[in-house]
Symmetry: C2
Subunit: 132 residues, 2 copies
Amino acid sequence: MAKRKESSTNSENRNYITTCDLTYAVCLVGGRWKLLILCKLEKGKLRFGELRNQICNITERMLTLQLRELERDGMVKRTVYAEVPPRVEYELTEISLKLVPIWGLISNWGAEHRETMLQKNTAEAENLIEQE
Amino acid sequence: MAKRKESSTNSENRNYITTCDLTYAVCLVGGRWKLLILCKLEKGKLRFGELRNQICNITERMLTLQLRELERDGMVKRTVYAEVPPRVEYELTEISLKLVPIWGLISNWGAEHRETMLQKNTAEAENLIEQE
DNA sequence: TAGGGTACTAACAAAAAAGTAAGTAATGGC
DNA sequence: GCCATTACTTACTTTTTTGTTAGTACCCTA
């Protein structure tokens, strides 16, 4: 159905690393826009155009690609309404909903990490000035 | 110190997406081999060569690159011993240690997701056979 | 009949990530 | 002097991901 290529070391390695459940899980949301999309869907269903407007720098092509992969991987559900103009809604699935609380934990950790790095860099900058 | 390029849409978007704490956090471990490396270090310090041997498909170049980024981002600590031949040890930092329990949760979720997808694909395959 | 809205798709180009192969420095032991 | 060991570099190629631009189908409304 989809194009495949399994011979390069590159793709062999992709397979190898995803034998680790943790790496596998992180790869599922590894596309540039995926987590942003999923976060928007946390609050409920959204249409294609709503997602596009809420993620201001994404192109339609990238949004489509990321949504297709998320759908293929069971992370979002896509519902097409037979209307004109077309209406398509996206929502989280049973399994992706289970990640929501974990995203909260990671997000908090991320904020803390950002804080830490900021302080570290400030301290280093001050040391540099002192050395002059 | 390091080469930079800030003008492409590509890198502008990188900056944009990492304003989200969740995306930021996931990007920190987004390199192909990073989580594998971090997992190996969960059990304690390891030397460069030990990491290379435990992650059988990684090249020295990739291991070096990933470790450098992890170090830059405060995720691993690097200790060089002034010996010949050289000895370098890597270990988790205070902040990356805080992620360990979260990795456990994600890992469990990953295993569950894998299970789910397996069943889904089996079911689809059976439907295809019936249709023939 | 021309234009509008929605959710895409296709062909192509640019950028980034990953992989290959062949080095390097330092020094202890033979 | 020569080789082995360790933890890397460097120069280059390949593969993958991301971005740009210009379409498409559908039917409704003016």
